[in-house]
Every structure is written in structure tokens, then in C-alpha cells.
Chain length 336, copies 2
């Protein structure tokens, strides 16, 4: 992944689902220096806060990043046509969808003709092992969530930065397409063959002996009927010492599933700890990261206070208020 | 899968792991009429009870089935060489390994040269959806286990036969390579991309309106640190009305993991019911299937009585004592 040429032009296309733009928003937030701007059509009502450019205006970029991540990860015909146009204009193309760029004949032909490359960041590495669950050295933190797209990647990146700022050796371990584009490496866990989920996480975050931490990006939710298998394998493979629960305040139901309510914080954390204990009997919760994007500041602070009181853990919106309270809890719990 | 030509010659090769022969044993037990015999080397101390044949003696078969299923599903060089010899002798080759037959150059070349076919039964169907968790019509039973390879396929096939014998419409839904070879169709759930586990099960066992039952073969165990993600997605996708817990009496530790104990029956059943409730709130346990292969008959009967007393459910070894007690419990619980 470190070979994807930058800077990026972020493609939003005609997207009308705000949550589906998380790849583009993640890059704009955590790697703005790698982005020249955003390319979106008039139908797209959202901006990720970068300069709006046409393809022609964005031609100084080296790579077009398809910044859209729909459930199931498929591209429509217009996305394919736009990507092919960008390829013909000389840009490499990168995407983190289940549907691979290389499997689109028009796109593959355009790339071959011009000599640009197609980067499918969801391709898992070859030769992954099945998990073995054997205790391994080093400290690991995993973010878990009440739902998909609640801010687990944001939280993990913010926690990594806050750990580093306080002098800890700390590495972000990306498990999703956006995180991989931000970090330059990682394994898209939801794209791994099911038998190898836990083994992929053991590979992604191997034993470390330097006293530092791996901060592993969580995926899905144990309470999401589409993706809980991924979350379960991730919990077992991560062998986490510490869990951080992530939640979007006020979300009415699970993403894409109006018939499923969002679980309560305590119920969700309890279930995650129980599953995690299989491979990490001493695992403990060290904090709550709330996504309060839809609240004003007093309401956001009140939500954090309520979560902290409910669970007896530090609670913060890491994007708005910083992740330091959770880092202090980690230091308290895991003093040498 | 129904296009795999029969009869089969079962390949045991030089296998020395009895549990790893479950594909061959399953076929010999449940589809002996489809098998001409077994081909094994002198190093293999086990028989599946069929006539021992050399390749030359087994040439009347239409297809060589690689009856070995190791963790991770890989073939060694000798297996590949033997399969290539069989292909050159005019047999089609079928296998349910993660490592695909078509990816072995020697084998692919031999098959192409002679004009025989390679059947990778673990290939998932194209275009699987993500799970949606929406309630669907029809009755479904899922077998779950304390570990891998405890007899879930055997139990599911025996339960299906017992349901049919008592006049119920009942269909076996295969989720593993052996079951697919026995049934002629199915989806190898552990070979599906992780995001689609639950969706694959929804596809495998769609809504039915005839009052009959789908009996879905379980995989792995919630307590197995390598494969619990598969088991979780299977529980959610199955949307089961009824669970049957499967267990091998006396197994000292999880398969391949001496550092992991086998969970207790009550703990295991409780965890499975809790996970299943996400998509099937009224799910209930209807029985226990014990694998008592290593016990004499009095000890086997005592083990069944002990499990029945512990859980308050009918407990049987379906292979030894039949599955009828559990079918009676299903009739009692789900009377129209």
C-alpha cells in the first residue's frame, strides 16, 4: 500500500449517503496533506472540506481514490465510467471496495492502454494462516462499536496520536480500506476468507517486545447481523489487553437495518469483553469514544459525562475533545 | 455440485490424522453407494471401511475425491502428484480445500491434457449479498458445537433423515465441503469472504412456506479462537428456530489447540442461544447430539443421560442411538 502514489484526488461522485463517504472523510481528516481536492457531481450534497475540483482541475494528483464505501462495496456504472476517464487522463486509481477495479473491463482496458495502475486495497495478502490463539507478547488495544461507521477508525487514529504525544511507542493497525489508505499498510479484514479472520489479525499485529502498543482498528459490531462474524474474529485475533467502546450518540437504528435497534453501551461492552476473554482472559475496558458530530458542544459534553457515569470509564469525543483521558486510563491500568 | 460425476474413489493418501479424514468418513458413512472404494498408502493407518483399491483398481470411478481436510485446507506435494496421476488416468478430481485444485499447475495441466474436470467444492457462488437479518418464513434448525469436527454434519444429516421418516418436509443445507459432496449442493461457509458470511447463509436457506424445515449444518464453535467468526455469522444468517448442541465426549482440548479447553455444555449452549437471539429472539434448544465413538455402549448411554439431566433436553448419539428423541422434542416445541 505504501506504493500508492500521492497526492490523491478524492472521488465523491454523485454520492447521497453521508455515511458512505467515510473513506473520503477519513482521508480528508487524517491525511489532508496527501489530497489535492475532491471531485464531486452536483447531485452530491456533501463536501469533505477540500477544494472542489473537476477531473481536469485535479490532474496534478497522482491517484484518484474512490472515496465511496457502500454496504457490500459495489460500484455503479457512473463510478466506473468516471474512474475510466481519470485513468485515461493519466491518474492511477485506488479503491477499497469488494468489487475489484481490475474486474471492470472498461477500467482495466483504460489503465492498460495508458499505463496507469489499479490499486485494490481490499486485496488480502496471500498465505494468511488460520488463527492459533496462542498468547503473544506486547500490548494491544482494539476499538469495538455499537454499530458500523460510528467512528472506530477515527478513535483508533486519535488514540494512537495521543499515545505517541505522551511518549509511548504506539502503532495504528489498519483493518479497513480507509485506514489502509491513511496508514499506507494494513489488512482489510472484512475481505479475508472467513476461515482466516482471526489469523489475519494475528498477522497484522504480531508479538512486539518494545513495551509499546498496537492500536487495532475495529470493524462492524457484535450486534450487527450482517457483520458480527468479522467483529468476532477480530476480537479473537486481536488478543486485546484493552478495549475502547465506540458509539454514535443519537443514531436511531443500526446502519442500513431500520428493524434493528442500536444496543445499549453497557450491554455492548459486556458482550465484547466476554468474547474477547476467550483469547485474552485479562482484557479490560479503558474508555468510551463517542461520536457527537450531530450535537452542539454542551450536549456533547453532557453525553460524554452520561456515558462515563454509566460505565465508570473515561468517555470523550476524540475528534472534538481529544483522546487524552483514555490514554491516562491506559497508563493507570497498565503501569509497568 | 450435482454435476460431479459419480461414483467416487476416495483418496486418503498418507494421512495420519484421523480427524482430518472427515470428508472421506462422511462420504463413506452417508453416501457409500456413491463410492467404489478407498485409495490409501501404507503410511495411512486408517480405513473408512470401504474396499482398499489402488488407483488402477479404482479406475471404474468417475471422480477422485480428495478426502483429506487439514486445518487451513492445504495439499502437500504428494497429494498433488497422486491427483495428477488420477487425472492422467481419466478421473475427474474433486476437493473441498482452501487451496484450489485449479491453482496447481501440474494438476491443471494434466486435467487439460486429458479433458477431465477439477471440482473445487469450496468455491462460493458469485454475487452473494451481505446479510440483512430480516425475519423470514419457514422453520430452521442449526447444529452448533463445543469444537470443530465433533459431528455436526453427522448430526444434521441424521436429524434430517429422522424428520423425513416421521413425515416432515425437511432439507439438509450443507455448509462444508463434505456435506456438499454428500448432498450435491451447498455453500462452503468458511470459504466465503468475511463480510458475506451471514448473507451466504440467508442465501443457502431462504424463506420457505411449505411448513417444512431446513436443517443447517453448523461449522466451528463460538469457543474456537480460529473459527468463531464463521460460527457467529452462521448463527446470525441461519435465523434458527431451534439449536442442537453437538459435542464429542472426552475430547481433551480444542482441535489443534492444546492450550484451549473444551467449553462446558451449558456454557456453550448459553453462549450460542445469546448470539442466535440477535436475529431469532425466540430461538430455543431442542437437544444434544453426543459423539460417543470412543466409548463402549454402557458408557455412551450414561453420557447421554448425564447430558440430558444437565441441560433438561433430549440427548443422544445420533449415529449410534438415532435422532428420534430430538425430533420428538421438535414436534413438542413447534406443534402447529
Amino acid at each position: 500500500m505504501s506504493t500508492i502514489p500521492t497526492p490523491y484526488l478524492l472521488y465523491l461522485g454523485a454520492a447521497t449517503d453521508f455515511l458512505g463517504l467515510k473513506t473520503a472523510r477519513g482521508l480528508a481528516t487524517f491525511a489532508p496533506d496527501k489530497c489535492v481536492g475532491e471531485w464531486r457531481h452536483d447531485e452530491c450534497p456533501y463536501s469533505v472540506g477540500l477544494e472542489r475540483l473537476t477531473l481536469e482541475q485535479g490532474i496534478a494528483a497522482r491517484t484518484l481514490v474512490i472515496g465511496i464505501a457502500n454496504p457490500g462495496g459495489r460500484m455503479d456504472a457512473r463510478v466506473v465510467a468516471d474512474a475510466a476517464a481519470a485513468a485515461r487522463a493519466g491518474l492511477n486509481i485506488a479503491a477499497g471496495l469488494h468489487q475489484r477495479l481490475r474486474d471492470e473491463p472498461e477500467l482495466a482496458a483504460a489503465a492498460a492502454e495508458v499505463g496507469v495502475r489499479l490499486f485494490d486495497v481490499r486485496d488480502p495478502p496471500a498465505g494468511l494462516p488460520v488463527g492459533n490463539g496462542r498468547p503473544r507478547d506486547g500490548r494491544r488495544l482494539l476499538t469495538v462499536g455499537t454499530d458500523c461507521s460510528v467512528g472506530k477508525m477515527y478513535a483508533t487514529l486519535a488514540l494512537t496520536a495521543a499515545m505517541q504525544a505522551r511518549g509511548h511507542a504506539a502503532d495504528f493497525r489498519a483493518t479497513g480500506q480507509t485506514g489502509i489508505l491513511v496508514a499506507g499498510e494494513g489488512i482489510a479484514i472484512d475481505a479475508v476468507v472467513a476461515d482466516f479472520i482471526a489469523g489475519a489479525v494475528e498477522t497484522l499485529s504480531p508479538a512486539r517486545g518494545d513495551g509499546g502498543w498496537d492500536l487495532i482498528e475495529g470493524q462492524g459490531s457484535l450486534f450487527h447481523p450482517s457483520f458480527a462474524g468479522v467483529s468476532t474474529g477480530l476480537l479473537h485475533g486481536a488478543q486485546a489487553d484493552a478495549l475502547v467502546l465506540c458509539h454514535e450518540v443519537g443514531r436511531p437504528h443500526l446502519r442500513g437495518l431500520p428493524h434493528y435497534p442500536v444496543p445499549g453501551l453497557a450491554e455492548c461492552l459486556d458482550a465484547n469483553l466476554r468474547v474477547a476473554q476467550l483469547t485474552s482472559p485479562e482484557v479490560r475496558a479503558v474508555g468510551v469514544c463517542l461520536n457527537t458530530a450531530h450535537l452542539d458542544e454542551p450536549a456533547a459534553r453532557a453525553a460524554c459525562e452520561a456515558a462515563a457515569a454509566e460505565l465508570g470509564l473515561p468517555a470523550t469525543d476524540p475528534y472534538r475533545f481529544g483522546a487524552e483521558p483514555i490514554v491516562l486510563e491506559i497508563e493507570r491500568c497498565f503501569a509497568a
